[in-house]
């Protein structure tokens, strides 16, 4: 549901950096989004086509780099990725875990034409 607000922020960021680079057009936008961020790619894409119209970002392609949720076991130090449900340490079964990745949520770079 909050993908509209997120997409608007992506557009603001892309336009600001494009202007600073004196770009005439933005062709690609690279997003890094961790598995633990609740964002639906298709939904961002849908809003993108609507709001990027008539800007220098029109027709820019969105690339989503998804980072898996990565956990470290605080009992045996094992590190592991999870893509589905939160699960115990695969090595020792402990639930004493620390989340060390998967919460990324940023614009990494844009490709522009001068």
């Amino acid at each position: 549901m909050h993908e509209l607000a997120v997409t608007e922020s992506v557009l603001d960021i892309a336009l600001r950096h494009a202007r600073q680079a004196n770009a005439s057009r933005v062709t690609d936008i690279y997003l890094v989004i961790g598995r633990l961020s609740s964002i639906v790619d298709e939904s961002v894409q849908f809003y993108w086509e609507l709001i990027a119209e008539d800007t220098i970002c029109q027709h820019a392609k969105l690339h989503f780099k998804r980072i898996p949720a990565r956990l470290r076991c605080l009992d045996c130090n094992q590190e592991f990725d999870i893509n589905g449900n939160l699960s115990p340490c695969p090595q020792c079964g402990s639930f004493h875990l620390q989340i060390i990745g998967g919460e990324e949520f940023y614009v990494e770079s844009i490709l522009v034409e001068k």
Binding site: S9, I13, L36, S37, S38, L86, I99, Y106, E108, V112
Partner: protein
């Protein structure tokens, strides 16, 4: 001409976070403690807020900001009936409050005369978690009828919490709610999270929450910002 890569590395919601910082500064100037109260629809946020107001109002000056998706003043009216300041923010269909909306709400309250500000966020477990407001405490009212799998399904919400209220404890005997499983999920996402099992309706467990809040407010007011 081949395109040029421009490195950005900027958090997507950075603009919101910056306004949240301004909100925090504004609140700190008047030493107002702000609590962002989140929950799914029907978890009992409003009852929990009303009971907290009733118990604390003799000691502290309290106010409420009500976030609602539609211009329905049911919740705001209940606070207003207690004779306390309340501001309603209509999110215009948006599923969450954001820092700009809270900023607008703060402008219309006499912050110098408020010790505790309770912010009732829109009923939703996904979106409010992504938008910082600048509050001092992020609180979730979870409830027994929602089921024990919610931490697993809404990890973001549980990650960002400072305090968890588990409401409707009076319904525990009637429902298949596996408390150890629920708490295990909470512990993975937010180790050591302060939790209060309560029933806002019967009053069970509320004293522990109110004592804790009282302590937090006192500490907050002693701190020089």
């Amino acid at each position: 001409m081949s395109p040029t890569r421009v490195p950005v590395v900027e958090k997507i919601l950075d603009a919101n976070d910056q306004i949240a910082q301004q909100n925090r500064a504004l609140l700190d100037r008047s030493k107002t403690l702000a609590v962002n109260i989140m929950a799914s629809p029907g978890a009992g946020k409003t009852t929990f807020i009303l009971k907290t107001l009733e118990a604390m109002r003799a000691k502290y000056r309290m106010a409420v900001i009500e976030g609602d998706t539609a211009p329905v003043t049911i919740d705001a009216d209940k606070v207003s009936a207690l004779g306390l300041p309340v501001v309603q923010i209509n999110t215009g269909g948006d599923c969450h409050l954001d820092a700009v909306m809270l900023h607008t709400g703060l402008q219309s309250l006499p912050l110098q005369e408020i010790d505790i500000l309770l912010i009732e966020n829109v009923g939703n477990l996904i979106c409010p978690a992504a938008f910082k407001l600048g509050s001092h405490l992020n609180l979730l009212v979870a409830s027994i009828p929602e089921g024990d799998d919610k931490p697993y399904k809404y990890p973001n919400m549980y990650r960002g919490l400072d305090v968890l209220v588990i409401n409707k404890m009076d319904m525990l005997p009637y429902l298949d709610f596996n408390m150890p499983y629920f708490l295990q999920g909470v512990e993975i996402l937010n180790p050591g999270l302060k939790s209060f099992p309560v029933s806002a309706k019967t009053g069970e467990g509320m004293v522990a929450w109110l004592d804790w809040l009282d302590e937090v407010v006192q500490k907050h007011r002693q701190n020089d910002h």
